[in-house]
């Protein structure tokens, strides 16, 4: 069972719908026992960072423990941003600190938010992108982005006039700045890959 963390932000249902579409049982929950027994968890997010991290509250520690036990965790959009140490969206906020790096505004000089379909270069060694070839379009909608400083992290980039981190993988911790659940067929494949990773157990 994959658990999609239910913490009172938007978009959680879309993630469940997408998993259901690929034949994966995903349960929306905030119960400690459900989270502890999950084969993988997804931290979704349509919200501003500060609102999201506050809404997460005591679940933050459960998620950290889950990830530190080497079980697969997938953060999506703000859920991905929360994997890092901090964000400066509407004030300074601490993140989960699972991956080294900080979240800050997309540099000026381009249309912000970065919203729409952008082409992501897919490194061969990132498990989420197995079977997708070397580049695919995914759907983004965000105004802040992560500056990743983790030597142990694999990173997929997209070009937005600068190298924008689109996805990260650090051992069992996965994140996508884009929305796989809203990225059509390619996005459903990413979720399928995450499901496969969960079924196999942690890398």
């Amino acid at each position: 069972m994959i658990v999609v963390i239910d913490y009172n932000v938007g978009n959680v249902k879309s993630v469940c719908n997408a998993f259901k579409h690929i034949g994966c049982e995903a349960k929306l929950s905030r119960q400690a026992t459900a989270i502890e027994n999950a084969i993988g968890i997804v931290l979704p997010g349509v919200a501003a960072f500060g609102y999201a991290i506050n809404a997460l509250g005591s679940l933050a520690e459960l998620i950290r423990e889950f990830a530190l036990n080497c079980k697969p965790l997938l953060g999506i959009c703000v859920g991905y941003q929360m994997l890092f140490e901090s964000s400066s969206e509407y004030g300074q906020h601490k993140g989960l600190g699972l991956v080294s790096g900080n979240v800050g505004p997309i540099p000026p000089g381009r249309v912000i938010p970065h919203m729409g379909w952008n082409l992501v270069e897919l490194p061969e060694d990132m498990d989420l992108f197995a079977g997708l070839g070397n580049k695919k379009h995914f759907y983004f909608a965000h105004s802040f982005c992560a500056d990743i400083k983790d030597d142990g992290a694999k990173i997929a980039y997209t070009d937005y006039g600068f190298e924008l981190a689109a996805s990260v993988q650090k051992a069992n911790i996965y994140g996508t700045q884009f929305h796989p659940e809203k990225s059509g067929k390619a996005g459903l494949k990413v979720l399928q890959n995450f499901y496969d990773i969960c079924k196999r157990g942690a890398p």
Partner: protein, 254 residues
């Protein structure tokens, strides 16, 4: 680089998709859930659902519609129609919508845009503007509210810029003069607004040919083109539109 987007728009009235001309003479165009799923499968980049029954009051039925749509649509979709509070937005986003659009309520209470942006992030907040060419002030457009039925004194270009300042992440700009005519977008309007803001602008109203889409992007500066008549009544498929634009050098997600 971002692709330009093809966005079919589903105007929903009494649970049916309808399409009119200049906001009048509505014609039935099918079931919103079926049509939404079809466009998602065909490779549309996004969808917009507007509950046009709800010009003044928010209707709970829109939440049920969003839930059903979200089960079958795996591309982003925006929902609008009568939204007045951040709580209503929250319900719609939690039901599966990616973004919410506000129109009349933002004119009445501009601070709604700021509240929404702080809570959900500005990428969730779409300011929809129904624009009509001003009869008194040539080269200007006036904002109309309540599904276009009520003109205001507000200038469209100024309102768009103010909307961006307040926290809107995108502008859905509909030309009431061009709507449903299939005679081409109002690219003077599109250009005036895209020059005045730094957020993406969706051009809406008037698509009739493939060239119209190209013109809205190149002459109007639009980041996305919205259409209804030409896709609901199957003049063109999504793939035809994308291939045409791609072949003329526009970046598309094909």
């Amino acid at each position: 680089m971002l692709t330009r987007r093809i966005i079919p728009c589903l105007d929903v009235k009494d649970n049916r998709v309808v399409k009119g001309i200049n906001f009048l003479n509505l014609r039935d165009a099918g079931d919103p859930v079926e049509l939404g799923a079809r466009y998602s499968d065909e490779g549309a980049d996004e969808l917009v659902f507007l509950d046009i029954t709800a010009t003044i009051r928010f209707r709970k039925t829109i939440i049920e519609l969003v839930e059903k749509v979200a089960e079958n649509v795996f591309i982003p979709f925006t929902v609008g129609g009568g939204i007045q509070t951040v709580e209503q937005m929250d319900k719609l986003l939690r039901s599966g919508a990616e973004k919410v659009s506000v129109n009349t309520a933002a004119v009445a209470n501009p601070n709604l845009l700021a509240e929404a942006a702080q809570r959900f992030g500005n990428q969730c907040v779409v300011l929809a503007i129904d624009a009509r060419r001003s009869k008194d002030r040539p080269g200007k457009w006036q904002v109309c509210v309540k599904a276009g039925s009520e003109p205001t004194d507000i200038d469209v270009v100024e309102w768009a810029a103010r909307g961006e300042e307040l926290g809107a992440g995108e502008i859905l700009l509909t030309s009431m003069d061009a709507d449903g005519t299939q005679a081409g977008y109002d690219n003077e309007l599109n250009k005036a607004v895209t020059d005045a803001v730094n957020i993406p602008v969706i051009a809406s109203g008037g698509a009739g040919t493939l060239e119209h889409l190209y013109d809205a992007i190149v002459d109007g500066g639009a980041d996305a083109v919205l259409m209804a008549s030409i896709t609901h009544f199957e003049n063109y498929t999504i793939t035809q539109m994308k291939e045409y634009l791609h072949n003329r050098g526009i970046p598309m997600n094909l």
